[in-house]
């Protein structure tokens, strides 16, 4: 029992940090620019495929460095030449644009790399078990992922809250005219922030690609979960996203290891209970519903605390 608890806690934290890695860029873009970027998971996928291609040519470490920069530049270009004009037409137009962009990215990836998964691997230098608990190996690649996630969290927090750049960025969102009058190029700030947010998505792709499957449908299944994280954490709150990621990682992991159902709690239903509906709900185990729990959490949060756990404004 203790073994399962410790292993589950570890797995939960690792999974949660992977989720944070993916959600961080989305939070940055939303909290700074107010753009709800549906194409985020698409850029994440683009990062994974660029990572795959570059690591094939020059090795993984170059991929880790170059892929986020290249994808970030693409993101900056998208902001500068498309999103900035669309911004004036309001949120709905932005939403529709990023929604369409997500499809375009998926199609492009399919054209270039095909529809099958590609053989994307982590660096050979991290190809050994870092430690082993109760005979479960933890690859050092996962430890590396852990370190990167925490580093990104700390770095972002410092830049946004403590640095001059962070101040200018935050001010540009609330008082763009005033910031412009003070001599800052507000447009450039927005482009940079969007580029960094997209770069973070790509970084997540480069790192997550070897663990998950690098395939042209990897974006589609992810975006919903990422929205859950930023809504539960509080739209635009970095700390909130961090806590929500860990929370969801842990809840999902622990839920899987629980085999309890209403039947095991209260005993089986009497045989003449209606077969339809009731019986199904009675016997379904917590493990079976585990991946749906985040969405239930989303609904609860929206009802009880619409600004999210750490949010400052209403969603």
């Amino acid at each position: 029992m203790l073994e399962l608890v410790i292993i589950s806690a570890l797995n939960g934290v690792l999974y949660g940090l992977l989720l944070f890695l993916m959600a961080s860029g989305l939070t940055v873009v939303f909290s700074m620019l107010g753009v709800l970027n549906f194409a985020h998971a698409g850029f994440y996928m683009l990062g994974a495929f660029f990572g795959f291609q570059i690591s094939k040519w020059f090795g993984f470490w170059w991929a880790l460095l170059l892929a986020p920069i290249i994808v970030g530049l693409i993101g900056a270009a998208v902001e500068r030449f498309a999103l900035r004009d669309i911004h004036r037409s309001g949120h709905v137009a932005e939403l529709l644009f990023t929604f369409g962009l997500a499809y375009v990215i998926e199609e492009v990836v399919q054209i270039v790399w095909g529809k099958d998964p590609v053989d994307y691997r982590g660096p050979p230098s991290l190809d050994f078990p870092a430690f082993s608990i109760f005979s479960t190996n933890y690859p050092s690649y996962k430890v590396f992922m852990f370190a990167i996630s925490v580093a990104i969290f700390v770095a972002l927090l410092i830049v946004i809250k403590r640095s001059r750049i962070g101040l200018v960025v935050q001010a540009s969102l609330t008082h763009p005219q005033m910031v412009a009058h003070l001599g800052h190029n507000v447009g450039l700030v927005f482009t940079l922030v969007f580029g960094v947010g997209i770069g973070l998505a790509a970084l997540a792709g480069v790192i997550a690609g070897p663990i998950l499957q690098t395939q042209s449908n990897m974006a589609a299944s992810l975006i919903a979960l990422l929205f859950v994280i930023i809504v539960v954490g509080g739209l635009g709150s970095l700390a909130g996203a961090f806590v929500a990621s860990l929370l969801i990682g842990l809840i999902q992991t622990f839920a899987v290891s629980l085999d309890g159902s209403l039947a095991s709690l209260f005993g089986p239903l009497s045989p003449d209970a209606p077969q339809f509906l009731i019986r199904n709900i009675w016997t379904v185990t917590i493990a079976q519903v585990a991946p749906i729990i985040p969405y239930a959490l989303l609904i609860l949060v929206l009802i009880l605390r619409p600004m999210g756990l750490f949010g400052t404004r209403e969603t």
Binding site: S8, D116, D119, L212, S257, I292
Partner: protein, 414 residues
């Protein structure tokens, strides 16, 4: 004047359709050509077209060319029915589909209804991959033919293999939470209890289908259960991610799966986490089966598509081979005559040996192979997906040992 022209056009329309049908016999391929399952759907389409080319270079069927017409069903039951109607409206009388049992159930019911309502316009449904046993049991009908071994038949093969391996003592079941996954687990429980009552089932998991990104918690559970073997009917990313999570955490069990060999994407994942001959699959044929004609076909196929690692399925070859044989036997493309000719038809299957289309339920029975994926022996020329590893036959189960009971009661045309 306008009315006359319109009437003239209306008269011409059926004529033009008829003229086209004269040139070729068409099979509508209604399957996933976009979205998540597209990699499989497109590969299978290429294989059918490759087979049609083969038929046509040999002079076609009864002097007509065979043509495969693709329709995208987006793995959606409703969309499949719409596409099937479209195919029928364009004069096609043969439909083939394989991916997704929910789609297959919708299609078989649609075809049944259509044929009841449109006598003389019957349509046949050739199912090459959907393996929910319901298709050849409760929902069977005269118009549906299944070429892949259904889920129960595959489990019969797996459990026969397990029966002969006394070292397996504790088994964990993990499957996707929908009708197919549930039928896999039910069949496993029933057959293990009959063949190896000493085996303990230490876990029976159903997880949501195509929603899990991190399988480590499931792997932790399997490890905690002390299982020495796992049975899983998973496919696609649910199988790849599960095996990857297991391999990278060092879980040492044998995997008995339906799709662990000869499916796209799995070999790459297995090589990545170094699972060498740990994953077993059951299939009607693999590239390395020691049979000259199938190896020759494999070479031709790989010369054309090998670099893109496009896979074909031997059951597709069997389907086209039997369609050609049935048309030639019936000397007609009348669907009813072809269906009657297919019943109880015996052929030499793609990987050698005899196969038979059972009349009672239209389920095809053929020799099945249990194979494992890993390092190759010198006598095995084919690797998978450029990994250097390939599939090795571990056991062959003869067709007669895979016969399952059926509850099918179909009404046949008089």
């Amino acid at each position: 004047m306008g009315k006359i022209a319109l009437a003239f056009l209306l008269m011409l329309m059926p004529l033009s359709g008829f003229a086209m049908a004269q040139e070729s016999v068409r099979i509508a391929y209604i399957d996933t050509l976009s979205g998540g399952g597209a990699s499989v759907g497109v590969a299978r389409l290429k294989a059918f077209q490759f087979l049609a080319e083969d038929v046509n270079t040999k002079g076609g069927i009864l002097g007509k060319k065979l043509e495969i017409v693709p329709f995208d069903n987006k793995t959606n039951a409703q969309e499949s029915v719409i596409q099937a109607q479209k195919a029928i409206d364009s004069g096609i009388r043969f439909i083939t589909q394989g991916n997704g049992s929910s789609v297959a159930v919708a299609l078989t019911e649609f075809v049944l209804k259509h044929n009841e309502r449109n006598p003389g316009q019957e349509v046949l449904y050739f199912n090459y991959s959907s393996i929910d046993p319901v298709l050849t049991n409760a929902k069977c009908n005269f118009w549906h033919f299944a070429w892949d071994a259904n889920s129960d038949v595959k489990m019969e093969a797996i459990t026969n293999y397990i029966k002969a391996n006394p070292s397996i003592k504790k088994i964990y079941l993990i499957n996707q939470d929908y009708s197919y996954g549930k039928s896999v687990r039910a069949a496993a429980r029933e057959m293990l209890a009959a063949k190896r009552p000493d085996i303990k089932i230490v876990g029976d998991e159903l997880h949501p289908m195509l929603k899990v990104t991190d399988f480590s918690p499931y792997v932790a559970k399997i490890r905690a259960s002390g299982a020495d073997a796992v049975i899983s009917g998973n496919w696609g990313q649910d199988l790849a991610l599960l095996l990857k999570a297991a391999g990278s955490s060092g879980l040492d069990v044998n995997w008995y799966t339906y799709y662990g060999v000869a499916t796209a994407g799995i070999p790459i994942s297995l090589k990545q986490v170094n699972l060498n001959h740990k994953v077993f699959g059951v299939t009607e044929g693999i590239a390395n089966v020691d049979y000259a004609p199938s190896r020759e076909f494999e070479k031709r196929w790989r010369a054309k598509y090998g670099e893109d690692f496009v896979l074909f399925a031997p059951r597709q070859v069997n389907e086209i081979k039997m369609f050609v044989a049935a048309a030639e036997k019936a000397k007609s493309f009348d669907p009813i005559k072809i269906a009657l000719a297919l019943e109880n038809m015996e052929i030499d299957v793609f990987d050698g040996g005899k196969g038979m289309m059972r009349k009672e339920d239209h389920q095809f029975f053929q020799p099945l192979y249990v194979a494992s994926f890993g390092e190759l022996k010198a006598s095995e020329p084919f690797d998978e997906e450029g990994t250097g590893w390939g599939n090795t036959v571990v056991a062959k189960i003869e067709a007669k040992d895979t016969l399952t009971k059926t509850s099918c009661k179909m009404t046949r045309p008089q």
